[in-house]
Symmetry: C2
Amino acid sequence: MTGPTTDQTPETAPSTKPAATTISFARGAPSTDIVDVEGLKQAAVTAFDADPAGMTGYGTAIGYVPLRRWIAEQHGVPESHVLVTNGSMQADAFLFDELVTPGAAVVTERPTYDRTLLGLKTRGGDLHLVTLEEDGIAVDEVEQLLRDGVRPVFAHVIPNFQNPAGYTLSLAKRRRLLELAHEFDFLLFEDDPYVDIRFSGEPLPRMLELDGGADSTHVVYACSFSKTVCPGIRVGYLVGPPALIDRIRVRATNTYIAPNMVAQGTVFQFVTGPRYAAALETVKNALAERVGLLDQALRTHLPQATFRRPDGGYFLWVSLPAGEGHDVARIAAEAAARGVAIVPGTDFLLEGGENAFRLAFSAVQPGDVDEGVRRLAAAIEAARS
Amino acid sequence: MTGPTTDQTPETAPSTKPAATTISFARGAPSTDIVDVEGLKQAAVTAFDADPAGMTGYGTAIGYVPLRRWIAEQHGVPESHVLVTNGSMQADAFLFDELVTPGAAVVTERPTYDRTLLGLKTRGGDLHLVTLEEDGIAVDEVEQLLRDGVRPVFAHVIPNFQNPAGYTLSLAKRRRLLELAHEFDFLLFEDDPYVDIRFSGEPLPRMLELDGGADSTHVVYACSFSKTVCPGIRVGYLVGPPALIDRIRVRATNTYIAPNMVAQGTVFQFVTGPRYAAALETVKNALAERVGLLDQALRTHLPQATFRRPDGGYFLWVSLPAGEGHDVARIAAEAAARGVAIVPGTDFLLEGGENAFRLAFSAVQPGDVDEGVRRLAAAIEAARS
């Protein structure tokens, strides 16, 4: 794991190649053309007109009150279960600061989001990475850890269209995880930023709901508007047991008094406004088209690769045949030299991943997908010789 | 110190008295009528039109690039010296996380901003509170601490219209503090959110400038747009030595990827736009009027009180004659019962302050000032009996 640099514009653009010609499968972000900028602008105007004092005043750490109420309604919980933050990464950071003391055991998926791994390691967490299967985390492996005496403060799970793999946790496994959480008394941290950008298949119930929604005791749920509205608006939230949410509220107050009211007021007007449904369809249709093209291109140009086409989200995970001595760092370098960007599998693991990489299809224009995979296939070939 | 709850709308409004009739000298925030809501709305529209990708994309932890550049120009430093954050409290938190390890010595003013004290105490800082005089921190006392062997990681100073006292650090003391910082090799944390809302007297040079601006090695400077634009926009920044700024950038990346691009893009358009100068004049004129009325009312209704009328900012500090057994907790309670809110002096100190309180004039309508002080005088009288 080389440090997370994968989910946004690079802080320093490589100076040696013209950005215009690089095709990036690295950026876990939507291309600007599928963001409803006009709708956001209108939402901001509406928000300033509707609630000038709420938009411009300090507010409090629980977030913009009407947005918090709307989120609570969406999840069928009282408002006291909800805290709205400056993006869900900030929510994660508060939760980790609250629960992950040095040496605290934590279960995560393997592979998982590189920034999650870094945040847990930085706080001295005792990480237990559990195999991620195509239907989600290997629950038998989780159970074995628990029976062996591991007592995690939480298990971190990305249930829908997981980052980096694109896999979705099955209903049976959701239920089994909840049983284990109750039996061994640990929290499930249900980290769910992609749930609303499903473009095929049927939605599954959240573990938060399966645990009783308003009566849930063993789930803390995180979500974000980065994928449904836009990343630059930096609004995310937590839903969880009110005592825990209140401890995090105190932490948030002491950190920043309040999150961004202008941004949260704008999100509130956007998601309750007339354009939201169509804006979300635009995103989902674009992602569905892009993943379809990527699926086809991989089958054509990289027939030796294995991957599972996801039903939503931004990512898919590609494995090359094991035992052939693939070196993904070299593949990534060869790819960069040919004008295509990927993220090595090693970034999402504490060890291993040399024959794997993550492809993000969220920011690639449809006309570039095939050419990008062609270049990648050439890079893989070059890296072998 | 009972915990900071003083600089924004209370999280839970007292339920026993009708808020409409309470006059609050507690809220360190502007009243909405002096915020240019129309200008902010226009700035948001301009920002979405001018830079849709920059507003909606992730951005990076350094902040919105054009705003960062503008701030660097204002301070005459390269952009690498600047980091823009979600409000300056968040900047403080990053700086404290970086520098205040348990047991680290820190110098602050006495009294000082309650949230600063809490943030330093929470991190285990070894706090040395130094007398605040009408021309700023007692530099002889700082020097004595240093000669006695105290080795602070930084000295926290609010140089202009200090919170809670309203005092301003003299030029001579600014220079002397810098000499000490160089001699004993500690940082000056120049915390300066009120600098641009001076309504009388001449501005003094920042210690950042006196230390060489772009060549400064011993000053880290914090400022905010909460007072000049509005609090709900949550935009603040740090200027400091690039190596330190870069360490904080990494910390910020790992906490939230990036701060709010929509808010920062809106601030950039507002402060570089056609309405900013007039908006700032509106704020300064309103504050000047309010402080004048408060000065007059205090002289009329509380002749026994001592205070210094400030040249800017939001606050002034009122002391009642010592040795008369004043109990500011009781005064605050009697005041609340009469529909006037103040913050006890004890909130801004580790010990003492029972005969003092902070009055914020930023959110009080001109027509309410005299009546508020009348009620306060009655409360002080009632608390004695």
